[in-house]
């Protein structure tokens, strides 16, 4: 299991929010570090819990929420 600070592609892990960006559950109802699988990009908006539009390219990735915009890189 990777740490919260080693997301490849130079992407910072999302800031703490109301929802877990790895599993989409409410913050506090899961162990964010444990539900993240190695080498998975964030998949849920930490603000609203919606699934993110994730674009994975050979040397990077972007993730954005339809409501709250892109996750900060």
């Amino acid at each position: 299991m990777g740490s919260e600070t080693d997301l490849p592609g130079g992407v910072s892990p999302p800031a703490e929010g109301a929802f877990c960006c790895w599993c989409g559950r409410s913050a506090g109802s899961c162990d964010g570090a444990a539900c993240r699988r190695a080498l998975d990009p964030p998949r849920f908006c930490p603000v609203c819990g919606r699934r993110l539009r994730v674009l994975v390219t050979p040397s990077g990735m972007t993730a954005s929420c339809g409501e709250h915009g892109p996750l900060a890189e």
Binding site: G9, P41, R51, V56, P58, M61
Partner: protein, 332 residues
């Protein structure tokens, strides 16, 4: 016993340049763990003798993600399973071009445009056929496509449209396929593979190990790959995806992964054998050993919906192993 088996296989593949039988491969699949270094050493020697020292580097891009109507039980892009992957429409040409340029900057000679579809509809065909010459001419890289099951006419149009290589995986043995996919048959995949070659494209036909198949079924799969005569065989290891029917399966153990990389090389001595998805989580610190066990190509950087290790780490690994990057074609 193992030493004799491996020595006989070496004589056959290196001195007489004859393929091993499936029975020979089945026997080699049973050598004890202590013999795996000898098995992988032979596979490396066979790779060098049949293919040379070059390693082919490729980048891939999911140009249309998720929403696939098929039920491949390993796949997070199937619309039949509740997975975290949000379906997104076909990327625009600029996004595809940028990804191709990224790929070329990493030293890759091949860029594969991948779509999560059963097969291309007419609109998708036209978009791909616009993209292929655009990417090839602007970026100067070979373009491969993976867009599912093809008709005869679609295969012809892709070949005429400049698709260098078409990816269509068998994934697993015919006898195990119905446990993994129910929405289309192994025979449909086999037929698309045949059409790809018939129309003159290079066939890239991969496998996914670790879905619960037996060693005998892996050997069966090598036999079926021989029948479709691929130029390239990507070797994927299952990285279990949340929400899919295989989401809780264990990873292939690292030493077993090396054993099967070696066996695929010994069974398919002339193919481009590519490191593909799942290698990071499966092999962890042993990734360099795959390249001395028969692998002679890799997908660099990220995958379709998951991240890979950094391209710099892979390129450093090749430099450390003194393996030059090059474009490969099947050695007949």
């Amino acid at each position: 016993m193992s030493r004799t088996l491996i020595a006989e296989a070496g004589e056959q593949l290196l001195d007489r340049r004859e393929q091993l039988t499936l029975d020979q491969l089945a026997a080699l699949a049973e050598v004890p763990d202590t013999s795996i270094p000898s098995l992988t050493a032979l596979a490396h020697e066979v790779r060098l003798a049949w293919c040379g020292p070059e390693v082919e580097v490729e980048g891939i891009l999911s140009a249309k993600t998720g929403g696939c109507p098929e039920d491949c039980h390993f796949c997070s892009q199937s619309s039949r399973f509740e997975t975290p992957v949000l379906a997104t429409p076909f990327l625009d040409a600029d996004e595809v071009l940028r990804a191709a340029e990224e790929t070329a900057r990493l030293g890759a000679s091949e860029f594969c445009i991948v779509l999560a579809v059963r097969g291309p509809d007419e609109r998708t065909m036209r978009r791909i056929l616009e993209l292929v010459p655009l990417v090839r001419d602007r970026v100067g890289i070979n373009v491969a496509v993976s867009a599912g099951i093809l008709t005869d006419d679609q295969a012809r149009r892709f070949a005429e449209g400049g698709v260098h290589r078409y990816n269509h995986n068998l994934e697993t043995a015919r006898s195990y396929f119905p446990q993994i996919v129910t929405t289309h048959s192994f025979e449909e995949r086999f037929e698309t593979c045949r059409l790809v070659r018939e129309h003159g494209m290079e066939l890239c036909c991969g496998v996914l190990l670790g879905m619960g198949e037996t060693p005998a079924q892996r050997i069966e799969l090598i036999g079926q790959l021989r029948e479709v005569e691929p130029a390239e065989v990507p070797v994927n290891f299952l990285n279990p995806r949340p929400g899919t029917p295989l989401g809780d399966r264990p990873l292939v153990e690292p030493l077993e992964a090396l054993r099967w990389i070696a066996l695929f090389r010994l069974g398919l001595p002339s193919v481009i054998l590519r490191y593909a998805g799942g290698r990071e989580v499966t092999l962890r610190e042993l990734q360099a050993l795959g390249l001395t066990s028969g692998i002679n190509a890799l997908i660099v950087g990220n995958y379709l919906t998951t991240l890979g290790r950094s391209p710099e780490a892979d390129l450093q690994m090749l430099e450390d192993l003194r393996m030059p990057i090059g474009a490969l074609s099947k050695v007949l």
